[in-house]
């Protein structure tokens, strides 16, 4: 107990059941979320110490959302999530390298597993998610499909506290999971460390343009009905930030690209149902826990009046940012040091030019 005090008391918030509890009670503790980059790797890199200690998302609520999503999407396939997973996994075919061991981090686990189809030469797959029910349903789906060509193991863990040893997996895939982490740079750094040299990190996160119609409709409805607004959509990464994130995490050969998907729904309430089934509902700490029936109906009405298409369906934009990065390896091309050039441009012109 005293050990824990010294380790966590300094840097974090420690909550424990009082001392006179019985032996059967559980003492749970909540360490500060910034522990992931503070000294966990022997202070690897001074720049990594200044990760934000701001908690934006309620991770416990997110676990509960994902439990519910596991039940809601048990027997249905989701075209949007499948499209994103397919796009992500397609990148594996572009690589000559094969990845014997892979780790799949939360988000749309089931879709990634189902659409893998032997790409990338994966032999051992580890599925990890914060929600136990999601993992259970993945495992049950695998039992039902009797597809045993890939050895799969299941694990419940938090993306912000990755329980994976350093340099132990060849490939990390995260499809629509990392935009709910409080400390995205920290998570990416932990992913990088878990990768073997010349390992690949593939992630798809939702970008800033996602659900902009919903954001506008919510704001307008709130202003009208309640005279004020509270955050209903989480802060999402911009494309320009994605590149910075990859470089900051220390990945070499980073690559970012963006795709926009417009999904059409019959009504605004169908959109909300879809978000629930994906586990993407509001989990901001600063959220307003009460939603007036009037406001909700007003939001639906404004959405339909402002954004409905000719055939009566309403569209919702999902902007997905795909990020790829490799763990550094001697075979990767690197920019040479300034001033170390051995050939000048005039030499090149003499060699290849001659027309001008």
């Amino acid at each position: 107990m005293r050990r824990i005090n010294s380790l966590y008391g300094r840097i974090g918030f420690l909550r424990r059941v009082p001392e006179n509890s019985t032996k059967q009670s559980h003492n749970t503790f909540l360490a500060s979320l910034s522990f992931s980059t503070d000294g966990a790797y022997g202070g690897g890199g001074g720049g990594e110490q200044n990760s934000s200690r701001v908690k934006i998302f309620d991770r416990d609520l997110k676990r509960i959302h994902r439990d519910r999503a596991a039940w809601l999407s048990r027997h249905k396939t989701d075209t949007f999530v499948d499209a994103v997973a397919e796009n992500l996994l397609d990148r594996l075919e572009d690589c000559k390298k094969s990845f014997p061991s892979a780790l799949c981090l939360g988000g749309s686990l089931g879709a990634v597993k189902r659409l893998l189809r032997g790409r990338g030469g994966i032999e051992k797959l580890t599925m990890m998610d914060t929600s136990y029910d999601m993992i259970k349903s993945c495992r049950d789906a695998q039992d039902d499909s009797h597809d045993n060509s890939i050895e799969t193991s299941y694990l419940v863990g938090d993306e912000e506290f990755l329980p994976i040893k350093e340099s132990s997996v060849d490939l990390i895939i995260s499809s629509l999971g990392l935009h709910w982490t409080n400390d995205l740079p920290g998570s990416m750094i932990q992913c990088k460390l878990a990768l073997k040299p010349d390992g690949l990190f593939l992630a798809a996160i939702l970008g800033g343009e996602t659900l902009k119609e919903l954001r506008i409709a919510c704001t307008l409805a709130h202003m009208e009905r309640e005279g004020g607004i509270s955050p209903r959509l989480s802060p999402l990464a911009q494309v320009r930030d994605a590149g910075n994130l990859l470089t900051r995490a220390g990945f070499s050969l980073p690559g970012v690209d963006v795709d926009e998907y417009v999904v059409k729904y019959k009504s605004a309430l169908d959109l909300i149902e879809h978000l629930r089934a994906m586990g993407e509902t509001n989990a901001l700490l600063q959220r307003n826990k009460i939603l007036n029936r009037e406001t909700a109906l007003a939001t639906a009405a404004i959405y339909e009046s402002m954004f409905a298409t000719e055939d009566g369906t309403i569209p919702a934009t999902f902007q997905v940012i795909y990020m790829t990065g490799w763990r550094e390896h001697s075979s990767h091309p690197e920019a040479k040091r300034r001033g170390s050039a051995t050939v000048s441009f005039t030499d090149l012109q003499k060699q290849f030019g001659g027309q001008s």
Partner: protein, 77 residues
């Protein structure tokens, strides 16, 4: 291969996959974990926390960890 490890899980009910045991470490201290037979959980000795294993799936979320009591049988476990 997968069927074999699943049979193992059904019989033992608590043993974990060999693949997992090679790559798992404590989520907070990043030190190796020890499988404790008595409580059927993964123990991280550096910080004195044990993580449960539910139905063969280790739960390594920091919130699920239980602080081990400072007793003589905890150190033996």
């Amino acid at each position: 291969m997968v069927r074999f490890s699943r049979v193992l899980l059904k019989d033992a009910g608590v043993a974990i996959d060999k693949t997992l045991s090679e790559i798992l470490v404590c989520p907070l201290s990043k030190q190796p974990l020890r499988f404790c037979e008595k409580t059927k959980s993964l123990v991280s000795d550096t910080i004195g926390v044990s993580f449960p294993i539910k139905d063969g799936i280790p739960c390594l979320v920091p919130k699920d960890g239980k602080i081990l009591e400072e007793e003589s049988d905890a150190s033996k476990a």
